[in-house]
Every structure is written in structure tokens, then in C-alpha cells.
């Protein structure tokens, strides 16, 4: 206890007691839940997450990287990389199917025109690669799924990658 000239000085104070800790039933249930939410947040369970997948359409290697978890209003980028691992040039197109893209706003596919939902590339030479970037901003909470289709011509070889994103409220 602070005194004008220091501590103590004979001022009245409560007796020293060893305090025992007791939680009421409501707190016994509620605090672990709040603690769990905090712990999960520390572990990154509510943070944005991505997944990446490699598929083949003949000698066309397709790498798709997309956000699997986002919070509402968060912006992210999905990428599709096409790589010619063969010896002859070919053309390829990328198309998004399903309601996946509709779950986002401010969607911009690059390269591509406004509102484009598909991109075509001509003459991808051996060893060359092309990249599609899709800017997304999460709008509706929930689980949204779709498919990224890649068509290689000639040959009409198709690669399909199912994609899905959890948008947390």
C-alpha cells in the first residue's frame, strides 16, 4: 500500500490469505470454448488457406492453385499454370464451370476480357508456359464448388480440377 513516505506504515490492510480458485458451471463451460476459439485462431484455422494440384492432359501439365478458405470480404488470387512438356506446340483453353466464381465479387480473369469466364491460348511451344490469374473477393459465406476445365487442342485432351472454397462469415 502506497504511503506518503513509503509502504506499510501501520495502515490497515486485509490479512494475507491463500485464495482458492473456483469456477462457476457457466464459466467452466464457456471459458474453454472461448479459449478454444482463440487457440484455433492462433493455429491459423480461420486464416486463408490454399490448395494446389497438378493434373495432366496428355503432355500439358496443369497446375491449379486456389483458395480453399477465406473470410468474407477478403481478396485472393487463384492461378492456373499451363506448361507444355511435349515436343510439339498446341493450343489450350481454360474454363471455369459451376457456381464457384459466382460466389465471389470483383472477379477479374487475367488475361481476359471483362466478365470473361474462359481464356484461350494459341501456340504454346515446347517448354513454354502460360498463366491465368483470377482475382477474387469473397462475398457470400458458405461452401462453394466448381471445376476448372482445361482443353488441349489438337487431341481434345481434357483436364478437370474440382475446386472449392469455404467462405467464413
Amino acid at each position: 500500500m502506497g504511503d506518503g513516505g513509503g509502504k506499510g506504515g501501520g495502515t490497515p490492510h486485509p490479512a494475507e490469505a491463500r485464495h482458492r480458485f473456483h469456477l462457476p458451471a457457466l464459466q467452466s463451460i464457456g471459458m474453454p470454448i472461448l479459449g478454444l476459439v482463440t487457440l484455433l485462431a492462433v493455429l491459423g484455422v480461420f486464416d486463408p488457406a490454399h490448395e494446389s494440384r497438378l493434373v495432366w492432359a496428355g503432355d500439358l501439365a496443369v497446375v491449379v492453385r486456389w483458395p480453399t478458405r477465406l473470410r468474407e470480404t477478403q481478396a485472393e488470387v487463384a492461378e492456373i499454370e499451363l506448361r507444355n512438356e511435349g515436343t510439339a506446340p498446341f493450343s489450350a483453353s481454360v474454363a471455369f464451370e459451376g457456381a464457384w466464381l459466382d460466389a465471389f465479387r470483383d472477379v477479374h480473369v487475367d488475361p481476359g476480357a471483362e466478365e470473361a469466364r474462359s481464356v484461350a491460348f494459341a501456340d504454346i511451344g515446347p517448354g513454354e508456359s502460360r498463366r491465368v490469374r483470377v482475382q477474387l473477393r469473397a462475398e457470400r459465406s458458405g461452401w462453394h464448388r466448381g471445376t476448372v476445365h482445361v482443353l488441349r487442342t489438337p487431341g481434345d485432351r481434357v483436364a478437370a480440377v474440382p475446386v472449392g472454397t469455404w467462405v467464413l462469415p
Partner: protein, 159 residues
């Protein structure tokens, strides 16, 4: 993860800030202090949320804050040192009927305030006060010198 760290940092910073600010300032806010307290949330809100206005982020922030408050209350309950660190300790401002000017200066309290609170407590003269404290809540409390002074009517019952 980042939200948890930011809330924890701001919580500790504000706790330290209020601790430094002093007891009396929290007990009775002047218009200037009230404005200060109203501006603080405006300043820190963007730093806390980084523009992430999602419900998830808000719940994480609130859960983190509640956990910190709960852990602080456990620590202050369990360990006296933690209590003194977080809440401080009462300051003696009147001792054996004498006002302690140094203690008043440290708490930035005028003698007028002490006398005003004494009068509210039904004590007319400082000689009637054995001990006068600024409690950790910022309230001024008095221990009367004579037993008969303890039979004081509460303020609202005074004529």
C-alpha cells in the same frame, strides 16, 4: 493468428496506459479524459482488424479479449504481486489527521477534493480522519479516528 496477437498487444498496451494514467483519472472522468477514451477505440480499431470486418474476425477478437480479461482476473486473484502490478495499491493521502501533500501531488488530487470527499463521508475536519486513501478504483475513502465518527449516515440520508 495475427488478430490474436494484435488484440493481446493492444490489451497489454491499454492496461499499461491506464495504469500509468493513474487511479483518479479512471474514477471521475473530465471532459478531456472522456474524449481521450472515446478516441482510443477509433485509433486502434483499424490496427486491430486491418479492415477485415468479417464476423469471424470479430469473434476471434472478442474471444481473445475475454480470455485475456479472464486470465488477468485469475492472476490478480491468485497472486498478490500480479494484483499490485495490474491494479496498483491504495495510496495513503491522510495519515493520523494530517494530509500528506507529496501523496496528493503524486495522485494529482487537490486538498479541496479531499475535503469535499470527507464532507460527503460526514467528516467535518481532517483531524477526524485516521486514514484517508485513494483506492485502486480511484475513490477516496476514509477511516475515522474516533469510534463515534464511524456512525455516519450515508450521504443520501443527510439532511
Amino acid at each position: 493468428m495475427e488478430t490474436v496477437l494484435r488484440v493481446a498487444f493492444v490489451y497489454l498496451f491499454l492496461m499499461l496506459g491506464f495504469r500509468v494514467l493513474g487511479k483518479r483519472e479512471l474514477a471521475r472522468l473530465s471532459p478531456f479524459e472522456l474524449v481521450t477514451l472515446m478516441i482510443i477505440p477509433e485509433i486502434v480499431s483499424q490496427a486491430l482488424t486491418r479492415g477485415d470486418g468479417s464476423l469471424t474476425n470479430a469473434l476471434i477478437g472478442v474471444a481473445t479479449l475475454f480470455c485475456l480479461v479472464f486470465l488477468t482476473s485469475i492472476a490478480t486473484f491468485r497472486w498478490p504481486k500480479a494484483r499490485e502490478l495490474v491494479e496498483g495499491s491504495p495510496t495513503v493521502v491522510v495519515k493520523h489527521g494530517k494530509v500528506l501533500p507529496d501523496a496528493l501531488a503524486r495522485e494529482r488530487i487537490t486538498e479541496d477534493e479531499v475535503f469535499s470527499e470527507m464532507h460527503h463521508a460526514g467528516l467535518e475536519r481532517v483531524e477526524q480522519v485516521e486514514w484517508g486513501y485513494v483506492e485502486t478504483t480511484g475513490d477516496l475513502t476514509f477511516v475515522p479516528a474516533r469510534p463515534e465518527d464511524k456512525q455516519i449516515k450515508p450521504r443520501e440520508e443527510l439532511p
